[in-house]
Symmetry: C2
Subunit: 348 residues, 2 copies
Amino acid sequence: MDSRNVRLAVIPGDGIGTEVVTEGLKVLEAVGTKVETTTYDLGAGRYHRTGEVLPDVVLDELRGYDAILLGAVGDPSVPPGILERELLLKLRFELDHYVNLRPVKLFPGVATPLGGSRPEDIDMVVIREGTEGLYAGAGGVLRRGTPYEIATQESLNTAYGVERVVRYAFEKALGRPRRKLSLIHKTNVLTYAGDLWARTVDRVSLEYPDVTTDYYHIDAASMFFVTQPERFDVIVTDNLFGDIITDLGAAVAGGIGLAASGNINPDRTAPSMFEPVHGSAPDIAGQGKADPTATILSVAMLLDHLGLTEEAARVEKAVAEDLVERQAARASRTTREIGDDITARVAG
Amino acid sequence: MDSRNVRLAVIPGDGIGTEVVTEGLKVLEAVGTKVETTTYDLGAGRYHRTGEVLPDVVLDELRGYDAILLGAVGDPSVPPGILERELLLKLRFELDHYVNLRPVKLFPGVATPLGGSRPEDIDMVVIREGTEGLYAGAGGVLRRGTPYEIATQESLNTAYGVERVVRYAFEKALGRPRRKLSLIHKTNVLTYAGDLWARTVDRVSLEYPDVTTDYYHIDAASMFFVTQPERFDVIVTDNLFGDIITDLGAAVAGGIGLAASGNINPDRTAPSMFEPVHGSAPDIAGQGKADPTATILSVAMLLDHLGLTEEAARVEKAVAEDLVERQAARASRTTREIGDDITARVAG
Ligand SMILES: CC(C)[C@H](C(=O)O)[C@@H](O)C(=O)O
Ligand SMILES: CC(C)[C@H](C(=O)O)[C@@H](O)C(=O)O
């Protein structure tokens, strides 16, 4: 891959997805990197028109890009699970996005619902496993709709899958000033999976004497996210706990409008995918009300992943400055205005 | 059962468990109800001394009481899962505590970490399923300790188990002014179990036209607990999601020191068990630092469950008054002092 000429697949998706992606691409262009984008029409719209969710040929094409930028997919008109399982999660699983990287960071100037917290208290990175656990889709149903119905869901966890994400987390922790890694799980109830996770962290930690580790049950961790977020630096956790804790993290760090994420394949056997944590928000779609900041921060993560570190830093700095200014501003801006303002800072 | 002569089994447990239970019993006595208590030595202490966790004969004896009051069990010296699975969860499962009732209520005078929330914003009841889901203990491990290890955990959900707790939740919602019931699950990923839960709520809702229902994914719900707790009135959810959301609820409602819970068998085929949500907190055990309020509020739930509604209300009122006064007080009180003060109010 020639990092100066990025081939990017773009999946705007549904609802506000298209709006925020437009702004993300504007910022990406302003960075000065040569990017060739190809847009893929996937999501609720295509599903309703054609019945297709993610045709195999599209999936194969997507494999050929340097990275993927996704807005958001989903609409209440589609039964729950279809777009999630057959599009979003299928991409994460097929492209082996075993690291779901989600920074939880309170930028200066941003209001948090936590009365007593300051930016230096909320600065963590959550590394959520992306290809195993309860997200594997294992399970089934018997006697559906009868009084004798039984429905199961199975969490699948492998040494292979856990170790690779744990190693990634240790490396991440090593690169940060606090060098602290917390495992979040529920080892006292999910004894089989919890034991595998805890043993893996213990074993790998021997190779990282400079990284301090600790452990929290998911229930206690949820509490501490609200009462003492400063406990956390780097977090590693499974797919479902990571899903929950990163939405909670987004809430304490100023809201889902700012939460970025990367679905990363660290081995680079397939493109990584970057997307805001928020959904398609059909209730505010088409009104220019969506905050494109999460997508723009996801673009920064994308640049960073492609080795364009300086460019990534420039985008993050532009966002940080915009957020400080937002605090003082009286009028609220449209999606496009926020995008334009951040673009101007990046370009300038 | 003669409700004027309550036969109560008491399991003080480990760490601060014994300290808070002492205060809970003091309050119970002050209420004026005739209570005959029998104390059971169960927990980490007994496990270390005898290797026993919950002998069958003890379990059988416990079945004979009107109710059980538990402090907290657990100690870091016991491997994770042993006391949880073989004592705490065994009691919940064997005594068919299919309703785990956990109020999340911000009392006036209590500080919440949420800057903008007032008592009227945080007043909900979480009904957590107690006998199914990932807590069933289903799962296994293959090739433990090798690079080929696989560990599974299975969530078991039945129409029988889901319907009975959902019905309880609708009844609870009907008895509250807002008459609102929210289901929390993750139907878009846990499609089999989620479908059973969602269908059950939809079906039973037809019998409760006066109750409004809505639905939240667990990740979104976690966010709203922090940003808009006023969305929730009564919540029904599965065992694991209920575990997480009630700790988060405790955090936003002033901390784990105030969070009460009832493990309830609504059919009264076995005694219900009341316990604070907090654990044994070995780090502060024996120092008189534990807050007995959660246990005292659990005693109020116990009284209510036994039909002693007026007595329950008296205890809750005494706690509410104590909490208002706490705000103004300068010195912090010991476990015993808090217990004494609340006891005096109940007696007076
Ligand atoms: C839409 C859903 C499948 C997804 C998830 O649960 O992973 C979302 O909540 C997220 O966090 O990216
Ligand atoms: C100790 C543990 C097994 C228990 C649970 O997970 O239910 C606790 O966290 C609780 O919420 O009562």
